[in-house]
Amino acid sequence: MVSKLSITLLAVAALTTTARAQDKTSDVIARGEYLARAGDCTACHTAPEGRLFAGGRAMPTPFGTIYTSNITPDPEAGIGKWTADDFYRTMHSGRFPDGGLIYPAMPFASYTKVTRADSDAIFAYLRSIAPVNQKNKPHELRFPYDNRQLILGWRTLFFSEGEFKPDPSKSAEWNRGAYLVEGLGHCGMCHSPINALGGTSQSDAFKGGLIPMQNWYAPSLTSNREAGLGDWSIKDITDLLQTGVSARGVVYGPMAEVVHNSLQYLNDADTKAMAVYLKGIAEGSSPPPASTVLPNTESSLLISLGKTVYDKNCASCHGTQGEGRPPHWPPLANNQSIEMQSAVNPIRMVLNGGYPPGTEGNPMPYGMPPFAGLLSDNEVAAVVSYIRTAWGNRGSPVSAREANELRSAPLN
């Protein structure tokens, strides 16, 4: 009798342990999925209409086209034979398990900051998805960039390996934000100037830059005259990151993709941590730049034509004083992305219009109409010059040539 009871108890205990182990595994997988979202792995490793994480998406670079790889657990075509060690080494060191060098289109210079535990969770998640037997497509890089040994030079210049080191003088929240922004978020891949070698130097981190091949300007995250968030409230920042719209501005273009695939899935605590960090790295309010002097009559003619175009086409949504109806119709007055030194984004918005991403918090966004077919180069230049200089905005006028050049900018 006693022994029967103890056997039953043992069996129950064994069942409970298995259940706990399964719980733990599914917890790790769920955490891995969350972290894979934070790293926006899908943006590159899933092709349009393709299977999840089966790769094959073409990534145009100034050096040729790179095709992303299959990271499903297929043993032949994917990473089914990898161990958690292999995966960590790839993320951390930018080398394949056989030691081969990875092109820095894969943001390992950011992923190197990811902790071992987070890397293991992402790997556990990737092991849990459906394997896809789809072979990787070879890259199409021009000579001499097809020689992977060149990556060694790039690594020497631009890669410093090492996990994220918290700054003990800052709060846990700030450090969590820094870990996400600098690591998985790989924000610096776009928001830092890219030099001719396709690298970003540490001292220029988050200082903004034109995204190669896409011709969108990724504004500085440190300068309050660009996308520096020093003057923003935490709520406006978290709104922007989570829903794509905010009282201060709206995301379009490549940043819409980031919100759509990645940031909208982050929980409130992580979003707030990123906001705290981003607000923190903004430089103290910079002195206002010398106000734009309109040097000649040509400029004032441009601005006066711009006002005519604006009142006719733009004011019904953005308001006669550029006040907009935030968050859906963004304000243009005191809007950093309108005023900043590069006029690429405002010109592109006038030409191509755009929709912010559809997110859980903003599932039916309002769109900006494209005006490429309605306005001449002169009118585009005029209206952009007007919104950059009216209502106290401190941008500079733009020329018809600049407007014309962006008509041929790639749209996707």
Binding site: P48, C317, P410, L411, N412
Partner: protein
């Protein structure tokens, strides 16, 4: 007395509530689909009636299933037109469905056809292909799928009225060359593959010359049987 006070108080509370609601929405864009699809209007017109640009199609009144399929195809890049691909890239399915339903539900009048520049012979060839097809060359009549009145059928087959010759001919050309594709079985690709360039010109000219009708609404699903399988109109 008490009752009157209570009534006044209630009225004030209601007024206050109204005020609050007004204050909340006063500074917001109208909560309507027409405000949400303003990005579509420079090319497709305020109600989807089309614009003076002959390459931009009328959307109004087309079956919502057809419009939704096109929005999905533009979003994924299967149907290639960069300005459309760009606009739709990050919009979720239910929103695209709502957009499709919005334009399907708009019924601005059909335009009167523009005078055609093609010869009578070409016009006659167009009419022959549209209404009777050419069995010898495996070309079905357009009307066998798009309907005797060319108004399309719910939910996936578009009407062909109110389109300009340039647009129709560009689309048939894209089907012929395989740059426009749809879900398998891709019936339009097969049909267009049997057309010559002269056929395309003739069909486009005759379709664009159809006079406006009062009721261009697509007929209900199952009104007639399709001559072959169509991925966009599953049975």
């Amino acid at each position: 007395m008490f009752a009157r006070d209570a009534a006044i108080a209630a009225a004030l509370v209601i007024l206050a509530a109204f005020d609050g609601a007004a204050a909340q929405t006063a500074n917001q864009p109208p909560d309507t689909m027409s405000a949400r699809v303003e990005a579509c209007t420079p090319c497709h017109g305020n109600k989807g009636e089309g614009t003076s640009d002959v390459y931009f199609p009328r959307l109004a009144g087309k079956p919502s299933g057809y419009l939704y399929n096109q929005l999905l195809a533009f979003r994924s890049g299967r149907r290639k037109y960069p300005p459309m691909n760009y606009l739709l890239e990050f919009l979720p399915d239910p929103y695209l469905e709502a957009m499709a339903e919005y334009f399907a539900g708009e019924h601005p009048p059909l335009p009167q056809p523009a005078p055609s520049e093609v010869s009578k012979d070409v016009m006659a060839q167009g009419e022959l292909l549209v209404t009777g097809g050419d069995a010898g060359r495996n070309i079905p009549a357009c009307v066998s799928c798009h309907g005797p009145g060319l108004t399309g059928m719910q939910p996936g087959i578009p009407g062909l009225l109110g389109l300009r010759a340039a647009y129709i001919s560009a689309q048939l050309g894209a089907w012929r060359y395989g740059t426009r594709t749809a879900k398998s079985p891709d019936c339009m690709q097969v049909v267009a593959g049997h057309l010559t360039e002269a056929d395309v010109t003739a069909v486009a000219a005759w379709l664009a010359a159809r006079p406006a009708t009062d009721n261009p609404a697509p007929v209900p699903k199952g009104t007639y049987a399709l001559p072959f399988g169509c991925g966009s109109q599953p049975n």
